[in-house]
Symmetry: C2
Subunit: 171 residues, 2 copies
């Protein structure tokens, strides 16, 4: 039978996996044809390097999240998982920050640089990007909870597995 602690960890990993997968799919399928005065153009994520970075980062973490589901809790690989959780959380934070910064310019524009907001012309595209960012945000929150939980159990097991513990049961 699966222990409750392991079940919680599995549940968090499933949520994180689902969220990063959703972020990839929503962002990668976001495109809309818009027009600006006489100019017609197609807005798609791949035209913006920050959004491409977001998709690639979330895709990498999705693959990792899927593989991490199958590592048993007693495996020596758990220590590696702690380190990788940390690295991939940083990757997710970096990618969502970059995507958010460009999305903010897309929504509000930047008058001093002469960049006009585009969300008025391609509202559906903007909503889809917002959806992807929300999914990415859920993934980050889940990974931070997972990270805190893994550190907690890791420290506990480290303190519990001292080599002399069995030799001095009275202490």
């Amino acid at each position: 039978m699966v222990k409750p602690k392991r079940l919680l960890s599995l549940l968090l990993r499933l949520i994180a996996f689902g969220a990063t997968l959703a972020a990839v799919i929503i962002m990668a399928t976001s495109h809309e044809k818009g027009s600006f005065f006489a100019l017609s153009y197609e807005a798609k994520y791949s035209d913006t390097p920050a959004f491409k970075y977001f998709v690639i980062a979330n895709a990498i973490v999705t693959v990792y999240g899927f593989l991490a589901l199958f590592i048993p809790s007693e495996s020596p690989l758990r220590r590696l998982v702690l380190a990788l959780d940390l690295v991939f959380t940083m990757l997710l934070i970096s990618s969502i920050s970059a995507a958010l910064a460009v999305a903010q310019v897309g929504k509000k524009g930047n008058s001093s640089a002469g960049w006009l907001p585009v969300c008025g012309q391609v509202a559906k595209y903007c909503n889809q990007v917002t959806g992807a960012l929300v999914a990415g945000f859920i993934a980050i929150i889940t990974y931070i909870i997972l990270l805190l939980y893994t550190i907690y159990t890791f420290l506990n097991s480290l303190l519990g597995k001292t080599p002399c513990r069995l030799s001095s049961p009275g202490i």
Copy 2:
């Protein structure tokens, strides 16, 4: 006398403190008057929310970095420093990612959104922003090294301070 390990940690903290301080000063003083056709404008960091976020994040970490210099290595606050190092490294990564994403648009533009590159008109401003980003990058690298070093010494002290270690010296 200060121990070599403590000296290394202090040196890394000094570099990190200097780098975040430099990032704040360089970005906060970046402004240049440019003209685009007949239009004259002033480019400054405070017009771009991502750059403001970069300055605020680096300023917060500068204050923290200064305070962390004075925490003795035996203090119980060291555990808090480990947690805060982690949180502030994530903050720095987030802020530099956002700033980089917008700086990239400033340098290359985004043709599909109709955003023209501005670095041709305000080259000095762009160079200064690049300098701030480089300083921010050095700060992040230093904090990651510090983090790895703190985790290493923290785990070592944790394993060394097990209550039964002295009671069974033969093992």
